[in-house]
Amino acid sequence: MHLEYFQMIDRIISVDLNSGILVAQSKVPEQSSVFEGHFPGLPLVPGVLLIETMAQACGFLIMSKSKFAAMPFLVGVKEGKLRTFVEPETPLEIEAVMEHDGSGFAMTKASIKSDGKRICNAQLTFKTMNFPDPAFAKMIVDRAKELNMPSEHLPA
């Protein structure tokens, strides 16, 4: 997890397209410049970055369904609940669930737990659009490979 670069996911653990569920893991870093401001003397992961973490897991789930044919952009957050503070070095288990795979959009639910304890959850809406260019698409696919996305969900 590299907060400054919005690299919120360390590893994709599983992708099950039949049940529409992706599970991923991350560990909050011990040090980050984000913690210098949020907050001095009380380092906590900002809630918006927890939403971003859930969104990235959902995004990889959506892209895996189309073998990375299009890119999802977060357009809606509903029922967002940030249940507890998240400190440095906290291990995170992120679950993304496909609620509806629509035409040009997707509805998902996501949650994060740590050692079985609920941290946050939300319903996230995405609009799917073409990648801006092939180089951008390659960058996203390469990132998915780094995160251990199963090869059957990647472009040939």
Binding site: G76, G102, G104, F105, T125
Partner: protein, 91 residues
């Protein structure tokens, strides 16, 4: 309950538009003021209600390319007709 009544109820609940303002001739965008984000919630609810997948991407593309007028897809009576067609195709 007719397709129109079901869709009008969904729009009213999703977008907080008074049910009485929604008529078969209402243009969902121009008359009812539904924006693209609210429309996703409506399509989601319609897809679930009717067990279909509205081809929103294709419709939008046709409108953007000038191959269809917005009225063809986004006036209530026409939208409901398209939904009926999709339900019939599924059967």
């Amino acid at each position: 309950m007719s397709t129109f009544d079901k869709v009008a109820d969904i729009i009213s609940e999703t977008s907080e538009i008074p049910r009485g303002e929604i008529t078969p001739d209402s243009h969902t965008i121009d008359d009812l003021g539904i924006d693209s984000l609210d429309f996703l919630d409506i399509v989601f609810a319609v897809d679930k209600e009717f067990g279909i997948k509205i081809p929103l991407e294709a419709w939008t593309q046709e409108v953007n390319d000038g191959k269809a007028a917005t009225e063809e897809y986004f006036v209530m009576k026409n939208l409901c007709g398209k939904i009926d067609d999709l339900v019939a195709d599924k059967a």
